[in-house]
């Protein structure tokens, strides 16, 4: 269906090719997962399928990509629109119309599909992706997850034979992600659609993939093979695979069901080690950093937060979870003093953040927004660090030193836009941390992060907490919560529905439980590292 023959691609002005001598054949009806570290060329590979690379991006492509016999050499992306549907990383930026229904119909209108066929396909797609409640809504009023589903629906409507998705679930909560992925598998199984997708959160997609393409980056050759085979040696692997390697299970289980079948002996072995489940860090309510008192926030008729009472103490890492649009980002914006509450109060060390001038506020609370890049405007990393020092009145070099503590080895001469996702987050985090605020907020920090960068982030956050800072992380990433959080909050419809020790909250929820907990339930183990510690001491 898709054939890459000896494809080498170099971006304009790049010293080395992003893809070198790629030979790849993807069969019809396959769900093919593209994995690799950030910046390894996954997106380039995906965009080459419908010819956006090189027709749209420029650069030099040698070799040939053919899709269903049509070469991208003579067919620009628009001539392949009936064959290949592409969903990008940022769905909101790709919308052409203003309402859900019209957006779904847009591609079909371009293809000249008959009106009654269009009508039926739009209805089918609305049902397939659960969008019927939103059909008349204006696109700009949708939440991130809803926008993602509309973007997928918009390409599905044109009934392409191939669907290409770049991180389709990175903005979605676990339940919505599951839903999108199961609709994708259904498309593969029932209509034989070919799906190629790139994703960092392997734990979500691994069970669905037929084959994995590992892009090692730096122009090294691709590794292609059945999922289990590639995962056995892959540098990036989901917790379930790590656990299987630790326990020595063969063949490698890829789904929770397969792993549970193998896990009987391990569960038995761990049974008398229950006392070794790490205790929850007790927190002192007298050391409160921030207090939220009967906080309500309304946007017009929409209630984003509904009289929420919370207290955040020193040394805590609090994970704020909940589905898309449940009020997580609103809570962070309130704590950071970006918006005034409609009702109730927020106080950080006794001060209202909205009353504190910006220059003083950064010494009180720091927020790393979802797209960390918006914090950066400098020409180089060095420039960014020195500006931050100057503006916040710190001794020159503080931010740069902080950056080395967060992530060493970032070239001071690079442009912030050229950094990888992980490096950009590190730089933003260093700038926020340099004035040493006692309350640090992160909004969805693992979006687009590969496993090594994520591990780095976890250790940074743990260090902050043990130094007595309070860290609040709004996230959909249950594995991150399992690794770092001491306390978990679940929001729904602007209300706090559960608040407690992270281990209890996530283990009791089928949606928020991490993979290890699902495999070893009912024992409350959360991470592979915990199991490793127990087994190693045990010998």
């Amino acid at each position: 269906m898709i054939r890459f023959s000896d494809v080498t691609f170099t971006y304009v002005g790049a010293a080395a090719p992003t893809l070198a001598h790629v030979d790849l054949l993807i069969e019809e009806g396959e769900l093919c997962l593209v994995v690799g570290e950030t910046g390894s060329g996954k997106t380039t590979l995906l965009r080459a399928i419908n010819g956006l690379v090189p027709h749209f991006t420029g650069g030099r492509l040698s070799g040939e990509v053919t899709v269903d016999g049509r070469s991208t050499r003579d067919h620009p992306p628009r001539e392949l629109a009936d064959l290949v549907g592409v969903v990008g990383q940022n769905p909101a930026a790709t919308f052409v119309t203003d309402s859900v229904e019209d957006e779904l119909a847009y591609t079909m209108e371009n293809l000249g599909i008959a009106p009654n066929a269009m009508r039926r396909r739009v209805e089918d797609t609305l049902d397939l992706l659960g969008l019927h409640d939103l059909r008349n809504r204006t696109l700009s009023t949708l939440s991130g997850g809803q926008q993602q589903r509309v973007a997928i629906g918009a390409v599905l409507c044109a009934s392409p034979r191939i669907l290409v998705l770049d991180e389709p679930t990175s903005a979605l909560d676990p339940a919505a992600a599951e839903e999108v992925l199961s609709s994708l598998t259904r498309l593969v199984h029932d209509v034989g659609m070919t799906v190629v997708l790139a994703e960092h959160r392997l734990e979500r997609v691994i069970p669905f993939a037929d084959r994995v393409v590992l892009v090692p980056g730096l122009g090294r050759p691709l590794e292609v093979g059945p999922t289990a085979e590639i995962m056995a040696t892959s540098p990036v692997a989901p917790p379930i695979v790590e656990l299987a390697k630790l326990a020595g299970w063969t063949p490698l289980p890829l789904s929770v069901r397969d792993a549970r079948r193998e896990a009987g002996p391990l569960r038995l072995r761990l049974h008398d080690k229950m006392a070794r489940v790490p205790d929850a860090v007790p927190h002192d309510s007298r050391s409160a950093v921030a207090k939220v008192d009967r906080l309500s926030v309304n946007y017009g008729s929409l209630v984003a937060l509904d009289s929420v009472d919370l207290e955040f103490s020193k040394g805590e890492v609090i994970a704020v979870m909940g589905r898309n649009g449940s009020g997580k980002s609103t809570l962070l914006a309130q704590l950071a003093g970006l918006r005034s509450p409609s009702n109730g109060t927020v106080s950080i060390l006794g001060q209202r953040p909205t009353d504190v001038p910006a220059r003083k506020l950064i010494k009180l609370v720091g927020l790393v927004p979802q797209d960390a890049g918006v914090l950066l405007y400098g020409e180089t990393v060095a420039d960014e660090c020195s500006t931050a020092d100057r503006e916040t009145g710190l001794t020159p070099g503080t931010t740069s030193a902080m950056l080395d503590r967060v992530l060493a080895g970032i070239s001071r001469h690079s442009h912030p836009r050229d950094l990888s996702e992980g490096q950009r987050l590190a730089l933003a985090l260093a700038i926020i941390l340099a004035p040493a605020p006692p309350l640090i907020l992160l909004d969805e920090p693992t979006r687009g992060l590969d496993y090594p960068s994520k591990a780095r982030l976890v250790s940074v956050l743990q260090n902050l907490a043990s130094a007595g800072d309070c860290v609040v992380v709004a996230t959909h990433d249950v594995e991150l919560v399992a690794q770092v959080a001491t306390r978990a909050l679940v929001l729904a419809e602007g209300e706090v529905v559960s608040d407690g020790v992270a281990r209890d909250v996530v283990c009791h929820s089928p949606v928020f439980a991490p993979q290890v907990a699902k495999v070893l339930a009912p024992a409350p183990w959360l991470t592979v590292d915990e199991i490793r510690d127990v087994l190693e001491v045990d010998g």
């Binding site: 992306p77 990008g88 790709t94 919308f95 498309l187 927020l367």
Partner: protein, 387 residues
């Protein structure tokens, strides 16, 4: 008048052109009077219909903006009158120092300011403000995007450009908000010259990014696939449509500016419509694009446009009969009366509040993941996608 209940479902709201025509009739009526009571009544009718029929869409909130704009217009009109205006005789309120001008025909700076002149100016301003409110009402009731979709397919390209720029504005607003937040998070100024300078570059960068992503998305989704229509036919079609649109514009001008064109602009309107129809017939059939759920023109549309027409007709009739109370009298100063014919006419303009179909619920539901049906049923739906 017999009122039909709007059909409960199957509609996506009234045809946008019907709203615009209705609003244009109200605006055309407002131009024909200086009676503040009638003007106020027209604005009230427009505002009432908007409050009943508007949706949750972002553009629906624009009426308040138009009201504010109207107030500014009145203020400016009065201020200009006080400073430069024609010196009318009457009750002198206060006197400004007078600056003699060499050719002082009607225009002067300073001088005595009379109550009559201020009232005259305020009513003038009010008339313009009410026209603005009428167009604001149309803007709140009909999605600008759906109005563009009604354009004949030969003008499709122009429509896309306008749509993109329309959707671009909220993006920029959002980008500005994000950049402001980011600056506050870094403890930088968000106001004043320093704030403005620091914000311009990131906002532009964001705008550029967005346009590139949009362009690639449109390309990937088949925008600009090869057209099979012969060039000559397309040119004829486009020419006829463009001429038609110009004629329609002239017609609307004739209706709004009384007595500027023969027949009040109606013949221009009719000719324009014919020409557009011809242009569409020539080229529209042959384009390989299709349209999803084109807006339909049915009874409610006729009723809405008809009600607007009744308002306009009552005003034209009252003017030609020289009905007392159509124009405000300032010599002697007296409280305006309410002439019967135009008042009844305006009330007919409320009809859309009853007859226009309500777009189906657009209540804001939260980002709830919906739950799919049983797998077997969904398999059939998936099959339908490729059918």
């Amino acid at each position: 008048m017999k009122v039909r209940r709007p059909p409960a479902s199957g509609r996506r709201g009234l045809h946008p052109a019907a709203w615009w025509l209705w609003a244009a009739c109200l605006a055309g009526s407002a131009i024909r009077t200086t009676n503040p009571l009638l003007l106020g009544l027209i604005a009230a009718v427009a505002a009432f219909v908007v409050s009943v029929k508007r949706t949750d869409a972002p553009w629906s909130r624009s009426l308040v903006f138009f009201f504010r704009l109207g107030l500014i217009v009145i203020f400016i009109r009065v201020a200009v009158q006080i400073i430069f205006g024609n010196r009318l005789s009457g009750h002198v309120l206060f006197t400004f120092p007078h600056v003699p001008l060499p050719t002082s025909e009607g225009v002067s700076i300073g001088g005595p300011v009379t109550l009559e002149s201020i009232i005259q100016a305020a009513v003038d301003g009010l008339r313009l403000a009410v026209v603005l409110v009428c167009f604001g009402a149309a803007n709140s009731l009909a999605s600008p995007y759906r109005l563009l979709r009604c354009l004949p397919s030969v003008l499709y390209e122009a429509g896309v450009a306008v749509t993109v720029s329309l959707s671009f504005a909220p993006e920029v607003v959002m980008a500005i908000a994000n950049v402001r937040d980011a600056r506050r998070l870094r403890g930088r100024p968000t106001r004043g010259i320093a704030g403005l300078r620091g914000m311009a570059v990131p906002v532009l960068e964001c705008a550029l990014d967005r346009s590139l992503q949009l362009a690639s998305s449109m390309d990937a989704r088949g925008y600009g696939r090869r057209q099979v229509v012969a060039k000559r036919i397309r040119r004829w079609g486009a020419g006829a449509t463009a001429i038609g649109l110009l004629l329609v514009c002239a017609g609307v001008y004739g209706i709004l500016d009384v007595g500027s064109l023969p027949g009040g602009g109606i013949p221009f309107l009719a000719l324009g419509a014919l020409s557009i129809g011809g242009g569409m017939a020539v080229s529209g059939r042959r384009t390989n694009r299709s349209r999803y759920r084109p807006d339909v023109w049915r009874v409610p549309e006729w009723l809405v446009v008809g009600s607007g027409g009744v308002v306009l007709a009552s005003f034209i009739l009252a003017s030609s009969l020289h009905t007392a109370g159509m124009q405000l009298q300032v010599y002697p100063l007296q409280f305006p009366s309410l002439p019967l014919l135009p008042t009844v006419g305006i009330l007919v303009g409320l009809a859309p509040a009853l007859v226009a179909p309500v777009p189906r619920s657009e209540s804001i539901t939260r980002g709830t993941p919906s739950h799919l049906g049983p797998p077997a049923a969904d398999a059939d739906r998936a099959g339908g996608l490729l059918a």
